[in-house]
């Protein structure tokens, strides 16, 4: 009695109500609980990677071929601190993209190397976020424009820049053009092994400068 009274969760415990369907007792919903339940990304997406120069990006490829374009966790901007995200890339503002109907009519057609957004970091570097795949722009995530800092803390997937819909017939070629999780880890490993830590940082900076100049 006293134990129950001390338990602050006591008023909130779930009680299963019995019900019989098809002549059998309905198992309580709690029986479905799995300790190691995979995340939303693990359940429905495959992780692919794209390098623009030495800078990695992540493509979350849904089983229905929808793609979320994100920064790879190893994207240098995440460590540097992100100060702004802009979908107005100069000649065109990606956030003005409008799609209509099932066929997403009117969506901008993007190539893998098309710039999707501009990203600036705390130390003033600019990254051109590439589209990573060939496809139709369906949606851009304007929440990260308002609060770019979110990118550093959001759970996987929530920091997506855009949703792209590739053509069915291009899907195989797209997947082949990207790095799988395994290939990506392999590339990171060889890169880290091949170069001392400091040089690697310099190398990255150089690349970054190149990009800024480009």
């Amino acid at each position: 009695m006293s134990v129950q009274a001390d338990d602050p969760l006591e008023p909130f415990y779930f009680e299963h109500e019995e019900q019989e369907i098809c002549g059998k007792l309905v198992p309580p919903i709690t029986e479905s609980f799995q300790e190691d339940y995979p995340t939303v990304v693990d359940r429905f997406f495959t992780r692919y990677y794209y390098f623009k120069g030495d800078v990695p990006y992540q493509v979350l490829y849904h089983s229905n071929r929808i793609c979320l374009i994100c920064l790879a966790p190893e994207h240098p901007a995440l460590a540097e601190g992100i100060s702004s995200v802009n979908f107005d890339i100069g000649n065109v503002d990606r956030s003005q993209n409008v799609v209509k109907g099932k066929g997403k009519k009117g969506g901008m057609i993007l190539q893998a190397e098309s710039t999707l957004a501009l990203l600036t970091t705390a130390n003033g570097a600019t990254y051109k976020v590439p589209s990573c795949i060939r496809g139709k722009l369906v949606e851009v995530n304007t929440a990260i424009v308002e609060e770019p800092k979110l990118l550093e803390q959001l759970p996987e997937g929530a920091g997506y820049f855009a949703i792209l819909l590739p053509k069915i017939e291009n899907c195989d070629a797209i997947k082949a053009s990207l790095l799988t999780q395994e290939q990506y880890e392999e590339r990171l490993k060889t890169k880290n092994e091949g170069l001392p830590q400091i040089e690697s940082t310099e190398d990255r900076t150089q690349n970054k400068n190149k990009e800024v100049l480009a």
Partner: protein
């Protein structure tokens, strides 16, 4: 114009008694007893009719021949012989296979009948002048007369009631002169209604066109007479039956279903031409309910008040559904039969149905309309990364309704338009699993059309607010049950209890 004169004239043209009554504008039951009605319509007629009979028995040949022959206006449609032929043909069809108490006749008449009506119209105008209207037909049109005369007779002989939604008996009629007359009609039509410009598409000849355009006010008698006789010619042959086709009524069978399996789709799930799951709710229900009503299960349409995902159970009272069964052989379902079906579906172990009943088609509006207004009750099993706190539980006790903005979920975005939809969440009530403080059981009441899984985890911020954003912590959904749908239709029937 006296009725007497009219009838005498019609007789001289070889018009049968039923059609004489049509030209006297008789209604409904007046066709039952011809002599009585003739007497009633004009007292003087009474004697004259008898005189007429006498005259005939005295042997005035033309008149007699006309009376015994085929009626020149209905081509024998209303004759006793034809009624018998029709009745026998219906009985010889699959009629007995249909267990329907109500029938309706759909008769496709030869165009000759409409042409003959017009010929008689012109003839009456010539004979009786201005007393014959040029816009409204002088008779009760054949189509209407079929309803007044043939329908009750056939219904009575078959011992069935009349209902426009009953078993439809489609009857095709033709006449030996029809082809020839239609050919003439095509020529007449060109002359009577010349195309206004060469590029203008000529209007196809149809029964509707005849009905609307072929009146003395629109076609000149002289033009008509170039192709057809006025009054219409006598014919030797009677109208003929070409086919009888039965179309059973559309029967709606409603009930509520519950779904126990997390591996059963709503309808057959086919991806790239391959079935992903062996069975579906739709197929299980149709398999056990359909055969009672029809042999063609493929024609049955399954509808329900919304649907749940493959991995979602539907518990509580269940979800209203309805089967639309076209060309049904039966219209009734006894409680015994319904209960047997319910038990057969239960045996699937995956789906259960109850409150199974035949419902009027009009009631389908309950399931089809106001979908967005309906409330849906869910129970979700959610997982936190950490043990729940009292604070989190309190944040998830929401009794006041609030609105969310929900973008089309990514899982359906490839085949649905991108929209941001406002949805109302009526209440949220979270509890925790006694043995597992990371497992929350959340009861949610929402407006229909809310995607619950996305409401819980927020789908990368595409549903805002989400339960996860409300507590400011990641939260995922592991299982979902539908526990209620606030549609009190169809009404509850306990088929297991038999009433005396």
């Amino acid at each position: 114009m006296k009725n007497q004169d009219l009838v005498e004239y019609l007789r001289s043209c070889g018009v049968c008694e039923i059609c004489q009554l049509r030209y006297l504008k008789a209604r409904g039951a007046e066709y039952r007893n011809i002599n009585e009605t003739l007497q009633k319509l004009d007292v003087k007629l009474n004697e004259n009719v008898e005189n007429e009979e006498l005259v005939i028995s005295d042997g005035i040949q033309p008149s007699k021949r006309a009376r015994l022959g085929v009626c020149s206006t209905c081509l024998g449609l209303f004759s006793k012989d034809f009624q018998n032929e029709l009745l026998n043909s219906i009985l010889a069809s699959d009629f007995a296979k249909y267990d329907c108490q109500k029938i309706v006749l759909a008769i496709c008449l030869p165009m000759s009948l409409q042409l003959r009506q017009l010929a008689m119209w012109f003839a009456l105008q010539r004979r009786f002048g201005a007393s014959i209207d040029e816009n409204n037909p002088p008779d009760v049109p054949i189509k209407e007369a079929v309803k007044l005369i043939l329908h009750p007779i056939i219904c009575e002989k078959l011992a069935k009631g009349y209902d426009a939604n009953g078993l439809m008996i489609n009857i095709d009629l033709t006449h030996s002169l029809e082809d020839e007359e239609v050919e003439k009609l095509v020529k007449l039509n060109k002359e009577a209604f010349p195309a206004k410009a060469s590029h203008q598409k000529r209007i196809e000849i149809s029964r509707g066109l005849l009905e609307k355009q072929y009146q003395p006010s629109k076609v000149k008698a002289e033009t008509y007479e170039k192709y057809f006789q006025i009054p219409c010619s006598n014919v030797e042959e009677s109208i003929k039956l070409t086919s009888i086709d039965l179309q059973g009524p559309l029967i709606c069978v409603a009930g509520r279903y519950r779904k126990l399996s997390r591996e059963l789709s709503h309808t057959p799930w086919i991806l790239n031409g391959q079935r992903l799951m062996e069975d579906s709710i739709e197929e299980i229900i149709i398999r056990h309910v359909g055969p009672h009503f029809t042999e063609k299960l493929g024609k049955i349409t399954f509808m329900s008040s919304g649907r749940e995902d493959v991995d979602v159970r539907c518990l509580g009272k269940g979800r209203p559904f309805v089967l639309e069964i076209p060309n049904a052989r039966r219209t009734c379902l006894t409680k015994d039969e319904a209960f047997a079906m319910e038990r057969a579906v239960d045996a699937s172990g995956m789906v259960s149905i109850h409150h199974l009943q035949v419902v009027p088609r009009e009631e389908l509006t309950h399931i089809k309309t106001g979908e967005e207004q309906k409330k849906k009750f869910y129970r979700a099993l959610c997982a936190l990364h950490e043990p729940v706190s009292v604070k989190i539980l309190e944040q998830l006790q929401i009794s006041a309704s609030f609105n969310i903005q929900q973008k089309t979920p990514i899982r359906v975005l490839h085949r649905r338009p991108l929209h941001t939809r406002p949805r109302t969440i009526y209440s949220v009530n979270a509890r925790v699993h006694r043995e597992n403080p990371k497992a929350l059981i959340i009861d949610i009441v929402t407006q229909a059309g809310t995607y619950i899984k996305e409401l819980v985890h927020g789908e990368f911020g595409r549903t805002t607010p989400s339960l996860s954003s409300i507590i400011g912590k990641p939260m995922d959904i592991q299982a979902l049950d539908v526990v209620g749908i606030d549609l009190d239709w169809p009404h509850e029937v306990d088929n297991s209890k038999q009433k005396e």
